[in-house]
């Protein structure tokens, strides 16, 4: 009688590669999953497929030329990257912006936050199967991009914030367009909520998935809505105010559930708070210039170029070879839609920065994935990545 050797069927682990080209990873993210049946045993994210070498490239360009490159980091909310870098440069140079520029900057930043959360909602809901929400959110996004386009001409990468203020003033009727957009915004949010929050399929895919405790959130360097959904009560706009944010009255939503559904609720509430900040800003918009003046560190105003030759030469030299910044080191962080985005600039007294380090929020947010993924099913990992809200442009820089 033949006897067959018994295979050990109690534990069989299969390695599955969610490759860089995948419709549900947000960008070019590669995850190596080890599965036992459908349960995840180990998940390793492999990044670097969008590595752009921005930090090295910044050392070859002047402070002004670098503004354009940092728009492309977190490409969903470009005005926020601008503000982070410009805040650091302004601290280094010791200059400030006029009051009108500060208020318009806050309007641009909160519009970017709404835009970023809309894209998050579109892709995260699409990953769990709700395709209608994708098309609806992109319709809202087109309205915001129309506002940007009427201001600067570019739909996505405006680079409208520059050291000392803004590149130019807002056109007539822009505030009316914003008010019209904000008037119908609450009805739209209600529509998205009605589509998702009463849907048992969405709730089952999202509730109690990807639990992050408060200690884990702080230890792994999480920030932004992903951390606030776990009980970390920290918002850079309120704790370390910048750009005039302490003049506005807004709430910071904090929950303690720590699951993907809590992160969803925090972001929906943040969109409503962003709307109220913009309404307050529109009320207090003062008149005045949008650009400060400084003899060395800022460009001369364009009208004076036609008047004398020295201003023309200075304007030319300013934009081609740049200005000599004072030596020192600055770290400036802002609260973007994803978390704490910080720029650490070291200057040695020349026209180009010596070293620029970009502290990206999604970099730390993604590093918690190997810790929280094991134990879930294969289809949950898509919901977890969607709830963490990552942008590969930031992670890979």
């Amino acid at each position: 009688m033949k006897t067959y050797a018994k295979k050990d069927v109690s534990r069989r682990v299969m390695t599955l590669n969610m490759g860089p080209q995948h419709p549900a990873t947000h960008g070019v993210l590669r995850i190596e999953l080890e599965l036992e049946g459908e349960t995840i045993v180990k998940a390793t994210p492999i990044i670097g497929y969008l590595h752009t070498g921005v930090e090295k490239h910044s050392e070859a360009k002047t402070y002004y030329q670098n503004i354009v490159m940092y728009d492309r980091l977190d490409y969903i909310a470009p005005a926020m990257n601008n503000m982070s870098y410009i805040g650091a440069v302004e601290r280094l140079l010791g200059i400030g912006a006029p009051p009108r520029a500060k208020v318009i900057r806050v309007i641009l930043l909160e519009l970017s936050r709404i835009k970023s959360h809309l894209v998050w909602l579109a892709t995260a809901a699409h990953d769990t199967g709700a395709m209608t929400v994708l098309l609806y959110c992109f319709r809202e996004r087109e309205a915001v991009m129309k506002l940007y386009e009427s201001l600067s001409g570019a739909r996505m990468m405006q680079s409208w914030i520059c050291p000392g203020g803004l590149r130019g003033d807002i056109p007539d009727g822009w505030t009316i367009m914003i008010k019209a957009f904000l008037d119908e915004f609450p009805a739209r949010i209600k529509e998205y909520r009605a589509l998702l929050e009463r849907n048992p399929i969405f709730l089952k895919r999202v509730k109690d998935i990807g639990y992050i405790s408060r200690e884990e959130a702080v230890a792994y360097g999480l920030s932004g809505p992903s951390a606030r959904a776990s009980g970390v009560n920290y918002d850079l706009r309120r704790n370390r105010p910048y750009g005039g944010y302490n003049d506005y009255d807004f709430e910071v939503p904090v929950l303690t559930d720590g699951c993907a559904y809590a992160r969803y609720r925090v972001r929906m509430e943040e969109m409503i708070q962003a709307r109220s900040i913009i309404l307050q800003a529109l009320v207090k918009l003062p008149n005045g210039p949008v650009r400060a003046e400084h003899p060395i560190f800022l460009a001369p105003p364009r009208e004076k170029i036609h008047e004398n030759m020295e201003t023309l030469i200075k304007h030319f030299k300013f934009f081609t070879s740049g200005f000599k910044a004072p030596a020192g080191e600055v770290y400036f962080a802002t609260e973007t839609g994803k978390g704490e985005l910080g720029f650490y600039i070291i200057s040695d007294g020349s026209e180009k920065p010596y070293r620029v380090k970009i502290r990206a929020p999604s970099f730390s947010n993604l590093s918690i994935l190997p810790r929280i993924a094991p134990g879930h099913m294969l289809s949950d990992i898509v919901a977890i990545i969607g709830s963490l809200d990552i942008v590969l442009g930031e992670i890979d820089r």
Binding site: G19, P20, Q21, H22, P23, G27, V28, G48, Y49, L50, H51, T52, G53, V54, K56, H57, V68, M69, R72, Y75, I76, V119, L134, L135, F138, R139, R141, E142, M145, R155, M156, M157, L392, G393, D396
Partner: protein, 171 residues
């Protein structure tokens, strides 16, 4: 100057001028196959960076790409005809792009969308390849950073024209 699109009854006439019988149509095989192919080009989603969002806007409801035939963006390259490389291509990503291109079935076309995929774009450093045409034969280059969705739609129409004029070889 573009000619007006052909009316349905014009497809029924033959090359030699001999009138056709209603119910039967004679035409060149090339024309029929090209006509069928060009109005159902399905792209494979190779959205890498910022241009991917303009590609998604082109697929959303305002600039609808489905009215030109690209109904769905297939995730699997085996089921797609067109590869829209949208975004900056780093050296680490190049073998992946090449592998996906090799997996597509003939006939296939490539659109290099944006400045980074055409020539390296804003970035001139060690990590970004100076254009995706180092490893792929590109048909249409779309400039812009990012290009408007209407520019992407025009590039799709140019691919359709190119298809219309080509000879059917793999049949």
């Amino acid at each position: 100057m573009r000619k007006a699109p052909r009316k349905p009854h014009e497809y029924l006439k033959t090359v030699g001028g001999i009138p056709s019988v209603p119910g039967v149509s004679t035409t060149k095989l090339d024309e029929t196959i090209n006509w069928l192919r060009k109005f159902s080009i399905w792209p494979v989603s190779m959205g890498l960076a910022c241009c991917a969002f303009e590609m998604m806007s082109a697929g959303a409801s305002r600039f609808d790409i489905a009215r030109f035939g690209s109904e769905v963006f297939r995730a699997s390259p085996r089921q797609a005809d067109l590869m829209i490389v949208a975004g900056r291509v780093s050296w680490k990503m190049m073998p992946v792009v090449r592998q996906i291109y090799d997996q597509m079935a003939e006939p296939k076309w490539v659109i290099a969308m944006g400045a980074c995929a055409s020539c390296g774009g804003v970035f001139n450093n060690y990590a970004i390849a100076p254009g995706v045409d180092r490893i792929l034969p590109v048909d249409i280059y779309v400039p812009g950073c990012p290009p408007r969705p209407e520019a992407l739609l025009q590039s799709l129409l140019l691919i359709q024209e190119k298809l219309h004029k080509s000879k059917v070889e793999y049949f």
